[in-house]
Amino acid sequence: MTRNATSQKNNTCSSVALWAIPEGRKTFVKDDSWVLAQPRPVLLHEKSDRLMDKATIELLARRAGLDKALAEFSDDVAAAAEQASGAAARMKAPTDPRAEPWPPMRPGAGR
């Protein structure tokens, strides 16, 4: 099973979609764009979305070319997968879904 397939499958039983925009919090502004009024912090993923079973971990590891690490350090690979899914699950969704990520770092250049 691919990672996307896992994610889609789990989303069907999750209360939080990938873009978790709370109901009734959309308001229109003059320039015809929309913003979220008093956005409520929402986890980007429910934690259960991101838990990977052994087969998924192996598949993703092999796709990343980590066959050797899987053979020699399977515990470390599993621990790494758990770390990654835990960190991704703890991020909140950006309050504006149109927000762009660029530039990553430009101190002092204003916002």
């Binding site: 990672r3 980007l44 990977m52 971990i57 993703l60 590891a61 990343a64 070319g65 980590l66 050797k68 690490a69 020699e72 350090f73 470390d76 690979v77 621990a79 790494a80 997968a81 770390q83 990654a84 899914s85 835990g86 960190a87 991704a88 699950a89 703890r90 991020m91 909140k92 969704a93 950006p94 309050t95 927000a99 762009e100 990520p101 660029w102 990553p104 770092m105 101190p107 002092g108 916002r111």
Partner: protein, 466 residues
């Protein structure tokens, strides 16, 4: 004169320039102290004794001939072993790069040499500046001079241990998730993560391109300001380098805190990650002291440490995977266990995760910028616990993430950690000051006010005194 090993860089440079102190005598005294203490501390991976003595002799000759090089002429410095020093291995404390000889000095090292500093050698780090204290690497981990059974913090472990033990007055470290400020906190010294882009990273082995910073570790605030003045500056060949002009950070330090507005981020250590009571008490004492000196204290709210940590981790592990992927595929057994586990995590993060983290990062930057519209400086915890016992892997694993340093790698704001007191067990406790972009001068101003009141610069471990 003070014992030579406790001379600050500022004092040593002044005495050398005035021909009251020989650089050869100072370097020799420090080399002898290193010979005596480093077997207990493991601060050095590679001591470059002959080159250091040659440089000291050259410095003495230049000064005698009236040709001073700069503000650090004749002052010894240690370099974290992820930073290139021409002709020496940059191993990153790893078997992976054990034969990697640097062809040229990193820009920060070149600037130090240009100011007359003497490079003593390469210092211990956590493997590739990630992981933790490891016993499965080609060199042992550094230990804390306040108690060698304890962790000196990391990843710039040798830098922190060596400064606190009086092996050298100046050291370079790097900080991607707190790696300058962690050893500064654990070893009771001063460590600065400057504004992102203020110090060139060219010649420094990357861990995470958008989170990496190079910063100074010293025993005093004035030395930190002096060292930053030397290493800061635009580098057109570092894509992250800022165009902002470097300041003269060592001037204007003594303006005090009267009238400054200081925002106290209590929720970091009260609710996000409840701190050890001694840490909480030390923080209250710092804030009360600054208030007594005339600062106005306000409470400030930022996103939680949990989320700052998650964003830091997703960005760091994604970027680090881009660097380490090929070695992790071919040579996983040449990494130590801790670094291997942390670096492999990037294989399980998606491009979407990275983009989401980058977008949340911009919102976090906005939150800190908003707070810094209302106050001049922020104060908060650095470490939530005194340093753990180095051989207690479970305790180190528990306490390592209990810190408030990663938020300012995510946002790029300058942040300085220093001693806030000592625990009942005689281990350093710490505080962190955070400033506006390129506001390092104000940070030093506040830090010096605290240092003067608490005499933190006079607190040294007793190692080597018997």
């Amino acid at each position: 004169m003070t014992d030579l090993h406790w001379l600050t860089a500022t004092e040593a440079a002044r005495a050398i320039a005035a021909k009251e102190l020989s650089p050869i005598k100072l370097t020799t005294a420090l080399l002898q102290r290193i010979d005596r203490l480093d077997p207990k501390l493991n601060a050095f991976i590679r001591l470059d004794r002959d080159a250091a003595l040659d440089a000291a002799r050259a410095a003495e000759a230049e000064i005698a001939a009236g040709r001073p090089r700069g503000p650090l002429h004749g002052v010894p410095v240690g370099i974290k072993d992820i930073i290139d020093v021409a002709g020496l291995p940059t191993t990153c404390h790893s078997k992976i790069l054990i034969d990697n000889i640097a062809a040229a000095d990193a820009v920060c090292v070149s600037r130090l040499r240009g100011a007359g500093a003497i490079v003593l050698g390469k210092l211990s780090t956590h493997e590739f500046a990630i992981g933790g204290p490891s016993f499965d690497l080609p060199w042992p981990p550094a230990r804390n001079p306040w108690n060698p059974a304890h962790h000196p913090g990391g990843s710039s472990s040798g830098s922190g241990a060596g400064i606190a033990a009086g092996l050298f007055p100046l050291a370079l470290g790097s900080d991607t998730g707190g790696s300058v400020r962690n050893p500064a906190s654990a070893c009771g010294i001063v460590g600065l993560k400057p504004t992102y882009g203020l110090v060139s990273r060219r010649g420094v082995f990357p861990l995470s391109f958008s989170l990496d910073h190079v910063g100074p570790l010293t025993r005093t605030v004035a030395d930190n300001a002096l060292m930053l003045s030397v290493i800061a500056g635009h580098d057109p060949l570092d894509p992250g380098s800022a165009a902002a002009p470097a300041g003269h950070y060592a001037s204007g330090l003594e303006r005090g805190v009267r009238g400054l507005r200081i925002g106290f981020i209590r929720h970091f250590h009260e609710t996000d990650m409840p701190a050890d009571p001694e840490v909480a008490s030390a923080l209250e004492n710092v804030v009360r002291t600054l208030q007594g000196l005339g600062a106005e204290i306000r409470d400030v709210q930022l996103p939680t440490l949990t989320e700052f940590g998650a964003v830091n981790r997703v960005i760091l592990q994604s970027e680090a995977w881009a660097i380490h992927g090929p070695w992790l595929r071919e040579r996983p057994g040449d990494y130590g266990r801790l670094a291997r586990r942390r670096l492999l995590a990037g294989a399980f993060l998606s491009a979407g995760d990275y983009i989401h983290a980058s977008r949340r990062r911009l919102e976090m930057i906005a939150a800190v910028e908003d707070a810094l519209q209302e106050v001049d400086v922020l104060v908060c915890a650095s470490a939530m616990d005194p340093p753990s016992r180095i051989e207690d892997a479970a305790e180190t694993e528990r306490t390592y993430p209990r810190q408030a340093r990663t938020p300012f790698n995510v946002t790029g704001h300058p942040a300085l950690a220093m001693m806030a007191g000592l625990s009942a067990g005689g281990l350093p406790l710490s505080v962190q000051f955070v400033g506006r972009y390129f506001g390092e001068a104000t940070l030093f101003q506040v830090a010096l006010a605290w240092e003067r009141e608490a005499a933190t610069d006079q607190a040294h471990p007793s190692i080597g005194e018997n």
